[in-house]
């Protein structure tokens, strides 16, 4: 180990708000979000790059925030589940997950919704195959995925023309 680990200054935007922080370089993005910013909606499931519960958007692309250092997000824009709601109104994806019972315990849900945001930003009318491919990196141990697929489809419908 080196004698001294220097902290690194970063500036980034999370859910539209700018932050300047000095961070230990080893801090993971998910730890920064949860512990430093109190944005505990982003979950840690497996901590091994498998389950996708920690999925957030990094400049619009879904990434596993447990598999990235916070300092790597310097200059980036992050979107977490807390940033989906606007002016007290649920995001259409959040609404669809509720309406279609696309969740049971809810632990994987924030990650699934953010994967859905990326999918629908690139493809407004995904086929079932495309939906399955888009959420292949998000593990849900309750629902069996059927209602999640219905929720994604409903969200796509509701967001059309939006």
């Amino acid at each position: 180990m080196p004698d001294r680990i220097e902290n690194i200054s970063v500036q980034l935007k999370v859910n539209g708000k700018s932050y300047s922080r000095t961070l230990e370089p080893r801090k993971l993005l998910v730890e920064f979000l949860r512990e430093d910013l109190d944005l505990t909606g982003t979950h840690v499931g497996c901590d091994t790059t498998y389950c996708g519960a920690c999925t957030v958007l990094l400049n619009g692309a879904a990434v596993k925030s447990c598999t990235m250092f916070a300092v790597q997000a310097d200059g980036a824009e992050i979107l977490t589940v807390e940033g989906l709601e606007k002016n007290g109104e649920l995001h259409p994806i959040q609404k669809a997950f509720g309406d279609c019972y696309g969740l049971q315990c809810g632990y994987c849900t924030p990650g699934l919704m953010l994967s859905t945001v990326q999918l629908l930003s690139q493809n407004q009318q995904p086929s079932e195959k495309e939906m399955r491919k888009a959420i292949a990196g998000n593990t849900c141990r309750c629902t069996g995925y059927q209602n999640i697929l219905k929720a994604i489809q409903a969200a796509a419908q509701n967001m059309k023309g939006a």
């Binding site: 598999t67 250092f69 888009a134 990196g137």
Partner: protein, 278 residues
């Protein structure tokens, strides 16, 4: 910078393998040099006869690039690695430099004319992918070298290829994988490259199987001989993904399926490939 930091420094590309390895303390570098902020290290360029990929080009960028329509096997690989989140971060240069025996890129590139450009303090050199990978997790890279680019020649007319992996689920490494690249003239296979993944310390070229199909019509009998040779060439280890024998059978079946798709693509058909899930 690597020369200054010494042996305990590691390069961080997409981090989708290195960061999990660090969490497990399998990797314990004193210094990490993050390549993600190097401007211009991510690109896809088409030359007259080749595609050149910057080392930090993400799998997702390769997956969605229209350019690689000319080499469909590259799309099979890029679109099939793990899941969306990993493909958004993971890089082609990182995958090769890690040289994980279960990685996807090396296996695919073993069937193509592909070169890795290595950049170091003493200059630049170009190494074929098969020479680049020396052993499990071991490449020819010196401590002060890094991968700067991967160049892939566009295969000649009449060529077709396919890559298939057999996996328990999307985010895990495959149980076995197979890449097949053929050049057909009518019903006759003029040239063949077959590489097997996850069934040895490095990707394995199934040379006897290639010899069995070269110059032949790909009849059931020819294919049976080739698959026999594929099973013999594989050198798998029994582990949680299956016994050695099981993996030999799986990799044989994957080569058979990949060959069928490669033949159709060589005829100009568009065939979409999805990996096989258990």
């Amino acid at each position: 910078m690597l020369a200054q930091l010494g042996d305990d420094a590691k390069l961080l590309a997409g981090g989708q393998s290195l960061i999990p390895l660090m969490k497990l303390r399998f990797a314990n570098p004193t210094h990490l040099v993050d390549l993600n902020f190097i401007f211009g290290a991510s690109y896809i360029k088409e030359d007259k006869d080749a595609f050149r990929f910057g080392a930090i080009t993400r799998h997702a960028e390769i997956e969605s690039s229209a350019a690689i329509g000319k080499i469909p096997i590259l799309h099979d690989c890029a679109a099939g690695i793990a899941d969306v989140q990993v493909r958004n971060r993971g890089t082609i240069g990182g995958s090769l430099a890690e040289a994980d025996p279960s990685g996807d890129w090396a296996t695919v590139l073993f069937t193509l004319s592909a070169e890795v450009r290595c950049l170091g303090t003493s200059g630049e050199r170009t190494v074929s992918v098969s020479d680049f990978i020396k052993d499990a997790y071991t490449t020819v890279l010196a401590n002060d070298e890094l991968v700067s680019e991967v160049a892939v020649k566009i295969p000649p007319k009449g060529s077709g290829g396919a890559y298939l992996a057999f996996k328990r689920s999307a985010p895990v490494y495959p149980t076995a994988s197979a890449a097949v690249q053929l050049r057909m003239e009518g019903d006759i296979c003029q040239d063949a490259a077959i590489a097997l993944g996850c069934v040895g310390l490095t990707p394995i070229r199934a040379r006897d199987a290639e010899a069995a199909v070269r110059g032949q019509a790909l009849t059931e009998k020819t294919m049976a001989r080739a698959i026999e040779a594929v099973r013999a060439a594989a050198d798998p280890q029994s582990d949680m993904r299956g016994s050695a024998n099981y993996k030999r059978v799986v990799v044989g079946a994957l080569v058979k399926r990949a060959t069928e798709i490669a033949v159709r693509r060589a005829r100009g058909e568009r065939v979409e490939v999805g990996h096989v899930y258990a």
